[in-house]
Symmetry: C2
Subunit: 238 residues, 2 copies
């Protein structure tokens, strides 16, 4: 005996919309989700659209192009960064903490650092607010205005660059095995020419043994030391 399903729908005051409703926020959210799981290359318009159950052309009613999508994504993420209240007594520690938070965010979304590097003038509300926060901390340290601004510039670039490199290592074509193999090849190449590589042969291992955090913080610490040594007003307590 066959049972035929009964498709009786309840009467509705309004027919259900047949089209999917999109929004810029939804698109950015979806793209960020994809980015968190993959890389910038996996965030194609087609993939984002597919995740949303539609086609890529539908996205263009909400974002002008892929580049704008990237910038929206970056701004969203910048909005998540902590913005401390500036403290003149511990401004360098604050800068270090902010840089760490930035690096962590940038590396959690592989490829977003590249967007940061490629975005000539970050103009989103969060980017501006975050820039204001960094600048406020730098100025709290008593640095001359021009120095504070250029330091902000340098620190931003340092974080983005470092994250870019880490991101490339994480998502690029060169896996850990190949990196190790390359290291061996390089070692053998140089060992066969010891007079050409007196420094690299003895010290090359230092770099491969350093952790990303060590490398990042070295650059940061030395830069901040230079800032303090050259530009920060003297304090009687020191």
């Amino acid at each position: 005996m066959e049972v035929v399903g009964v498709e009786a729908g309840w009467p509705r005051s309004r027919p259900v919309a047949q089209r999917r409703v999109l929004s810029q926020d939804l698109i950015v959210d979806t793209a960020l989700e994809l980015l968190g799981k993959g890389s910038l290359d996996t965030v194609s318009m087609r993939r984002v659209a597919h995740e949303l159950g539609t086609g890529p052309a539908s996205l263009y009613a909400h974002v002008s192009n892929k580049e704008e999508l990237h910038e929206l994504m970056l701004d969203r993420l910048l909005g998540r960064l902590p913005r401390p209240e500036p403290d003149p007594g511990s401004w360098t520690e604050q800068i270090v903490e902010m840089a760490r938070a930035q690096l962590k965010m940038l590396t959690s979304y592989p490829g977003i650092a590249r967007v940061g590097l490629e975005t000539i003038v970050p103009a989103g509300p969060n980017a501006l607010a975050y820039g204001e926060a960094v600048l406020a901390v730098l100025r709290a340290g008593g640095l001359p205005d021009r120095v504070a601004v250029l330091a902000f510039d340098t620190l931003s670039l340092w974080c983005a660059a470092f994250a870019f490199e880490l991101g490339a290592a994480k998502t690029g074509e060169t896996g850990p095995d190949e990196i190790a193999a390359r290291g061996k090849e390089i070692g053998a190449y140089m060992a066969a020419r010891p007079t050409q590589f007196p420094n690299m042969l003895g010290l090359g291992h230092i770099l491969s043994e350093a952790t990303p955090e060590e490398r990042f913080e070295f650059g940061l610490d030395v830069f901040l030391a230079g800032l303090v040594g050259a530009f920060q007003p003297r304090r009687n307590s020191m």
Copy 2:
């Protein structure tokens, strides 16, 4: 009276080759030429092949893939950088000059900086030789070994990052007019919210007025000042 052309060819000891002969050097040269005139995006396998009067598939007998082509290009360029004889008395000046030369090279070929950032382990002969040269200068300054190696790391990244940003500004989608327009929008946005942007509003112009060279050298100088202040042995002459 019709004159029929006579196609009498001279006898040859060997028939003329009908195929174009390619080589890795030729492909790299061609790609670099395209890069010097455009950007990394314009250096497609199809374009390189077209310049060589063939099809993209022909390139794969000489380069494994596009990534390898990129690395070969980078190594070629690194081979053009000057490698000074280390001088303990002026090592910081030497580092600055090397950084300037690197930046100049990287910005002459828009996009190659990105290759530098994306190449996890630069393994070409020129990359190794150049690294050796930088490291030798840093060590000539009397820096501890680990510091010299990490400084080399930092300086490389700084140059590549800065060049990347300059390259993006030069070849990206955001032209000078749009950059200026954005600056205006940002200014207006912040001016409408003065209590939110007390620092940016007064100082934002400093950044837009600074030249790329000023920005680059600021980061470099401060970093070197930090290196010298923290790690270089004291000299009686100072």
